[in-house]
């Protein structure tokens, strides 16, 4: 497919270009709050989420681990790619939960804000999540939803952190974005030598008394030797 040129603020879900299931991701929501750290667009062929679900999950992960002045977030780490792939692999048992949870989430956004999540501005998106992050689901959360609002949010949060910090071979943590963010070097096939920090370098080793063989009566009982 041909690469599509994006103007920085042009993205909304309805303009997403899906050709043969391949979709271009990585541009901002239309409010463009993340100008400075905008993630470059990339292409991803949806595997287990459909385009709308994928867009929605992507937007959720960006709220959960936002890109901001402190550094890149879920967008740069391509967390949604991790989730999409994981739903066909080691998180396959969550596929139906995503299916029904996302349907409930869509309905909740329509009930509460009269628009799909993807069309809400960043402030409202954040308010949506705040409303869900309470012990009791909001009144606008569909009653027939198989899970509560907070349970759904927590599930996506957990998987977002997995996509942020798991090995890049799972599809997220793109170019070790998550690891660099927290200064974790990742795999260490050759390990490390001490000192590991200023603490173990500067705190003196305790001087322990020298061991002497026990000089009391040795009463060790050995089977077959008694």
């Amino acid at each position: 497919m041909t690469k599509k040129r994006f103007s920085r603020r042009s993205f909304i879900a309805s303009t997403a270009q899906a050709t043969g299931g391949v979709i271009t991701l990585g541009v901002l929501s239309r409010t463009g709050v993340l100008d400075a750290q905008e993630a470059p667009p990339f292409e991803h062929a949806w595997q287990h989420l459909d385009a709308h679900q994928g867009r929605t999950v992507d937007a959720l992960t960006r709220m959960i681990m936002p890109s901001d002045d402190n550094g890149p977030g879920a967008a740069e780490a391509r967390v949604v790619v991790y989730i999409d792939r994981a739903l066909g692999a080691h998180r396959a048992e969550y596929r139906e939960t995503y299916e029904s949870g996302l349907a409930a989430f869509d309905q909740y956004c329509l009930n509460a804000h009269e628009a799909p999540f993807l069309e809400l501005d960043a402030r409202t998106q954040r308010r949506v999540l705040m409303g869900m992050d309470r012990p009791r689901s909001p009144g606008t959360w569909p009653e027939d939803a198989p899970m509560g609002a907070r349970d759904f949010l927590r599930m996506v949060v957990t998987h977002t952190m997995e996509g942020m910090f798991s090995d890049p071979s799972y599809g997220g943590n793109y170019r070790e974005t998550g690891w660099k963010l927290i200064r974790f070097p990742g795999r260490a096939p050759f390990g490390y030598d001490p000192p590991f920090s200023e603490f173990d370098m500067t705190i003196p080793e305790t001087e322990y008394p020298e061991w002497k063989p026990y000089d009391g009566p040795m009463k060790s009982r050995i089977i077959g030797e008694e």
Partner: protein, 554 residues
């Protein structure tokens, strides 16, 4: 180099389970010339199957064929807090069921029980609602076997460093592993508080030992399978030694569903299911059960016969009773500077100053230990439950960034009270992939455990504060649904009416049946039961060999 794994059709001994006890017995007995088949319900994975991959080690949740089943909670169970409620499905029992068992991923802390641990009833009396008893053996029955375990398996440590250690005849075969930042802070705090922080004895090589590499401080430690074989797991120590004798076969992916008895009530052999659920029968002169505190009683309870209608070796009715874990509490301390606890061995210091405090003075029974440590897990840390901090959003992100390299954990581990009402039995409703009933855990804490928890949580705070933490977050008391330390369910004793095995780990009811693992513990100790399980296994092997030589076991 490929080791022999001969097909042994008529073994002298069948061992069920290849973990801390089963592997030691397989090595000892095969070395003495007995023909051994060791059965394992999981697969025979090799070091190359494991990786420095947090997702693989810590968070898998399904049996996807792309991800070998190596998770530490890989067998299902059900749980209920008391016998009057319905059990629900759970994964609280930590147990790796591949060849080598949970020694593949354990922290490796390997200390000896103290002399007092074997006689708490005599020393401290009984406790309302609990069933504390003395062991039928004492420290001196195990001292030689502790030493044997330390040298044959490979334990690093520093003899003489812990003033509370029981007497020993030889020092550790290896010096301690390098101290981490949390270890250094433990030393600093203990110095200020008048406590004794000493190098943790560990089943981890500090230098080349047994042909295996020294530790490389990679930080992928507990919960991970060591990629360079520096951890002295059974898979890289006892199992290859057993195979090298040519007298031992490891039969993996083989789930024993029943131990069968002849008309005289002696163990005749086992019936097991292979991967394709085909049933096989194997006979031997003796059977040894080494499936630890949950699966050992489950197998005995599944082995019903006319002679043993309530389960094999269960004339006392005590099989599956007295389940014990090690209760624990922890606090997390945050510091201004980097600790980088993603480097190094998980736990390099232990503090035993409160190992057995006087009950009259402290108002609780038993004691515990502090095990200050780090954990480098990124995903778990990012998802950590923190007061007044949402799980998501810019503040969460900033918090993860600021703190991932700057915390340590003061884990405290303590005694669990033996209670007859804490049990393993067969779940009446839920079956596993072999079509066998899963173990049902019924477990509640004794009030004493929460008193211990309160006391040790404060010691954890004290340690972190003394080490200069700017913030400390502690966990509340809780009721454990499971644990990695699984003990007490076939307790050892001299009286066949109140115990399952005698002091040689031989079933009172069946003289050619042995039960060696955490289930024979009478009391839980304070933490880290593995070295004691291994010492019991070395000792039981000596007993079996002498009995077979004397033809007491035909």
């Amino acid at each position: 180099m490929s080791l022999p794994n001969p097909n042994i059709r008529r073994p002298d001994v069948i061992i069920i389970g290849t973990g801390a006890a089963g592997a030691v017995l397989a090595k000892e007995l095969s070395t003495k010339g007995l023909r051994v088949v060791a059965m394992e319900m999981g697969s025979f994975l090799k070091t190359r199957h494991f990786d420095q991959d947090e997702l693989q080690a810590m968070h898998p949740a399904s049996n996807n064929p792309d991800h070998p089943n190596i998770y530490r909670h890989d067998q299902p169970n059900t749980y209920r807090q008391s016998a009057d409620v319905q059990a629900t499905e759970d994964h609280g029992i930590h147990m790796q069921s591949t060849v080598g068992g949970s020694t593949l991923h354990y922290t490796g802390i390997s200390w000896r029980l103290h002399e007092n641990d074997f006689k708490e009833r005599s020393l401290f009396g009984d406790l309302d609602g609990a069933d504390v008893q003395d062991w039928p053996i004492d420290y001196w029955d195990l001292e030689h076997y502790y030493e044997k375990a330390e040298y044959e398996i490979g334990i690093s440590g520093l003899a003489g460093a812990n003033p509370f250690d029981p007497p020993r005849r030889r020092p550790y075969p290896m010096p301690p592993v390098p101290r981490t930042s949390s270890g250094a802070l433990s030393d600093l705090a203990a110095g200020k508080l008048g406590w004794h922080s000493y190098p943790a004895p560990l089943a981890i090589n500090s230098r080349e030992y047994g042909g295996r590499s020294p530790v490389m401080n990679c930080g992928f430690c507990e919960s991970y399978v060591c990629t360079i074989q520096a951890r002295s797991s059974m898979l890289v120590t006892m199992i290859p030694q057993a195979l090298r004798t040519g007298n031992c076969q490891i039969r993996a992916d083989a789930c024993v569903r029943e131990i069968v008895v002849d008309e005289d009530g002696r163990a005749e052999g086992v019936i097991y299911l292979d991967k394709d659920l085909r049933e096989h029968r194997l006979e031997a002169r003796a059977v040894i059960v080494c499936c630890n505190g949950v699966h050992t009683p489950r197998l005995l309870l599944m082995s019903k016969s006319n002679l043993f209608p309530d389960g094999l070796a269960n004339s006392s009715g005590k099989v599956g009773k007295h389940l014990m874990f090690n209760y624990y509490q922890s606090a997390r301390g945050f510091y201004e500077k980097d600790l980088n606890e993603y480097k190094g061995v998980m736990d390099t210091r232990i503090i035993q100053d409160f190992y057995d405090p006087d009950p009259d003075k402290y108002g609780f029974f038993g004691g515990g230990v502090l095990e200050p440590r780090g954990d480098g897990e990124t995903i778990s840390f990012a998802n950590l439950n923190m007061p007044r901090l949402r799980r998501w959003g810019a503040r969460r992100k900033k918090w993860i960034m600021d703190n991932y390299t700057r915390y340590m954990v003061a884990l405290t581990s303590m005694q669990s009270m033996s209670q007859e009402s804490n049990t393993i039995d067969l779940d009446p409703d839920v079956n596993d992939k072999w079509g066998l009933p899963v173990p049902r855990v019924t477990y509640n804490v004794h009030p004493n455990e929460h008193k211990l928890g309160d006391f040790f949580r404060e010691r954890a705070r004290e340690l972190l504060d003394a080490a200069g933490a700017h913030g400390v977050v502690a966990s509340p008391n809780f009721v454990p649904r499971g644990d990695a330390h699984l003990m007490g369910t076939c307790r050892m004793g001299n009286d066949p009416a109140t115990s399952v095995v005698n002091k040689f780990n031989q079933a009172h009811d069946v003289d050619n049946l042995f039960i060696v693992d955490g289930s024979s513990f009478v009391t839980s100790g304070k933490s880290n039961p593995t070295l004691t399980i291994q010492a019991l296994a070395f000792r039981c092997a000596d007993y079996i060999v002498t009995q077979m030589a004397r033809l007491n076991i035909r």
